[in-house]
Amino acid sequence: MKTGPTGPCYWRVENLKQFEFKGKLGSIGNAFQYRANTSPIHRLGAGWKLLLCGLLAALAIAAREPWALATLVGANLVFYFSARLRLSDFWRDIRIFLFQMVIITGLYVIKYGAEEGLWPGIRTGSQIFLMFLPGTVFLRTTKGSQIMRSLKRIMSERLSFILFTSFRFIPFFAREFHEIAMAQRLRGANIAPRRLWNPVHWKDLFNCLMIPLMVRALKTAKEAALSAEARGFGERN
């Protein structure tokens, strides 16, 4: 059986990997990951992209009126899709921000009532969303080596390496999160999303999910550090 990029084994594997992320707990598996393409945004230098993303993020903080936010949403969408990213990528990238928008709006409504709290809630949630969206375009269109080079201009090499490597492990921990949650739910842990609306079950979230995830994160960090050291990372710093 072929095992190359066009062989049947290949599509099955990719298929399954994507499929595994379909779950009730969300699909951030492939979010914020580099996607190879030859779009104008991909070809733009990392420094210019960083500048553009910074500008869009700054505008998100400044925008307070509905027309300003709507214009900014349009500008961000043009920026995102001119990178020839897919609609599925967009969904993966934004769903976590949509989740925060719902929470923030909900909290505003609880505190100030629907009439006074709704618009400020939507505005604040949108501003946070619009602040981070340009960053996802940067991560989607910039190779790791380019990110490292750009980051090194503004921070130490060691710090830029930590930041850059942490992006690499987002899909890995998304998978871990999903796997551990699945195992613990089958053991009786009350961590189904709808159960977590009840604060009584937050203890399970911490004990059954966060503790194993933290243990896993520490182990992974140790292994990644060892791998970096074995390939001479510490020696040049």
Binding site: W11, F19, G144, S145, M182, A183, R187, G188, E223, A230
Partner: protein
């Protein structure tokens, strides 16, 4: 720590050591000089009386290890889990931090520490960059080589492991075998003459292992020295020049042919009363016309029809990516199929709440599910969620721990146990509610052969004492071929009897 580079002047001494090894292998003087392997070797590595103790450890992990390795030689190292294989590789690469070390490790001047590359057990966590090209370029960039040199190193390394054309691919899109090959390429790009590999076959299916051995053969032919630590030595039988067995931190055996590393227990004898599929009873699991497609429309399952009955031991075999884990997740109600029906213990709507106590699932790397302060609390968790009285919980916990041969661990913290012990505690925690069905996904990952046999023995007892149906999925054959009542092959979206 006695770690220093081996100067060319020391070659003579190492040649003498090679001769000593020849004598140890039973090679006479005249045979020795006519033996091509020993004739051509120049020592690349010499370890003398090396001992190491990890910080805060009571016992030493390595004791009086002595080893001489010729340039271009391939040695395979095996031994039980925790015997010191990985520690020895880390010591050679000078990656052990703290602790107490004595003895010497010498590398030939031509090798040096920069010339030693190490591929770790878990390919997933050693890949640090998002694209294949960046990953392979990471090492040479740290060596401060020129852009042209790096480009060439990346191209050559990817070519050596058969990943040419994958340069811009995101590492997340690679299969387990491809990740393993990428991990090797990312080390090869630093041009090491000496390669250390820690359990390189652990995550690979049979074709993946064959491909890996082919790559290693190519490297050996190019003059690379290889030191491989693995539980399964069979794939390396034609590749290795020598095999070493390490037990309790000491090299206990050396041979030039494939050894039998551990005593193999007698094959499992099913009880007289046959538990195999009994079509007269109701099936515990019934899959009817199961269809599932991936996001790009290709079928993952193309119409699976199968029934599993109480008290049967079932093994589902399949290559990496064949859909074994997905099948188990469908049965556990975690993935909804596109078409067909799944009935489990008569339940049609599969939800964790409905399945609690009836079905248990042991995932790959089961130590990930441990979180309680004591083993007893860990095993009792599901029982408490079932709302059982405390006396019954205590009885069930003791029974489960006894069945999993872990009763002596009951007051220990699960997170401080060895990998094998954590595995058995995790198993005890899922069988404590006495489920009708137990699903296991790749339960042998990271376990040595005696531990694998032990798990099979425990599962067989579970069937005999509680008539539990056990469904296990793995990418390799079981260590005991007699164990399973039914072996099914999952291939091309179909599940067929072997």
């Amino acid at each position: 720590m006695g770690y220093k580079h081996f100067e060319p002047a020391d070659y003579l001494q190492s040649m003498r050591l090679s001769i000593i090894w020849g004598e140890k292998l039973g090679v006479k003087d005249e045979d020795h000089w006519s033996c091509p392997t020993l004739m051509t070797i120049k020592a690349a590595l010499e370890i003398t009386d090396y001992c190491y103790r990890y910080p805060d450890a009571e016992k030493t992990s390595l004791s009086d290890v002595s080893l001489s390795m010729g340039a271009g030689e391939c040695i395979c190292l095996s031994g039980p889990s925790g015997s010191g294989k990985s520690t020895l590789l880390l010591a050679v690469k000078d990656l052990l931090k703290g602790g107490e070390a004595s003895g010497t490790i010498r590398l030939a001047g031509s090798v040096g520490n920069q010339g030693v590359g190490i591929v770790f057990q878990n390919a997933e966590t050693q890949l640090l960059c998002t694209t294949v090209k960046d990953e392979v370029a990471f090492g040479p960039e740290n060596q401060r080589r020129t852009a042209k040199d790096i480009e060439m190193a990346v191209r050559e390394s990817l070519n050596l492991v058969g990943l040419s054309g994958f340069e811009t691919r995101n590492v997340e899109q690679l299969s387990a075998g491809e990740k393993q090959r990428l991990a090797i390429a990312s080390v090869l790009s630093m041009s090491p003459g000496f390669l250390l590999l820690d359990e390189p076959t652990a995550q690979l299916d049979v074709p993946g292992k064959e491909r890996l051995v082919q790559i290693l053969r190519g490297l050996k032919d190019k003059g690379h020295t290889l030191l491989i630590a693995d539980h399964d030595l069979k794939p390396f039988s034609a590749l290795a020049d020598r095999f070493l067995i390490i037990e309790s931190g000491r090299i206990s055996r050396a041979c030039d042919k494939l050894p039998l590393p551990f005593p193999t227990p007698a094959p499992y004898q099913p009880p007289q009363e046959n538990h195999t599929a009994d079509p007269s009873g109701d099936a515990l699991i019934h899959l009817k016309d199961l269809y599932l497609s991936g996001t790009n429309g290709h079928p993952v399952f193309g119409g699976i029809n199968v029934e599993f009955y109480r008290g049967t031991l079932v093994h589902v075999l399949g290559q990496n990516g064949a859909g074994k884990s997905t099948l188990l997740r469908c049965i556990a109600g975690q993935i909804r199929p596109d078409g067909g029906r799944i009935h489990v213990s008569g339940i049609r709507k599969l939800k964790p709440d409905a399945l609690l106590g009836k079905m248990s699932f042991l995932f790959q790397n089961p130590e990930r599910q441990l979180f309680e302060e004591t083993v007893t609390a860990e095993v009792a968790f599901s029982l408490k969620r079932l709302g059982l009285p405390s006396q019954l919980i205590h009885t069930r916990v003791m029974e489960a721990l006894s069945l999993c041969e872990a009763d002596h661990l009951r007051n220990r913290s699960p997170l401080t146990l060895s990998f094998g012990e954590q595995h058995r505690v995790a198993l005890a925690s899922v069988i404590a509610p006495s489920p009708d069905i137990l699903l296991l996904d790749e339960p042998f990952a990271g376990l040595d052969f005696p531990q694998r046999h032990r798990i099979l023995r425990i599962l067989a007892r579970l069937r005999e004492e509680r008539t539990t149906m056990v469904l296990m999925a793995s990418h390799e054959n079981l260590p005991d071929e007699n164990w399973a009542d039914r072996t099914l092959l999952l291939e091309g979206g179909k599940l067929e009897a072997v």
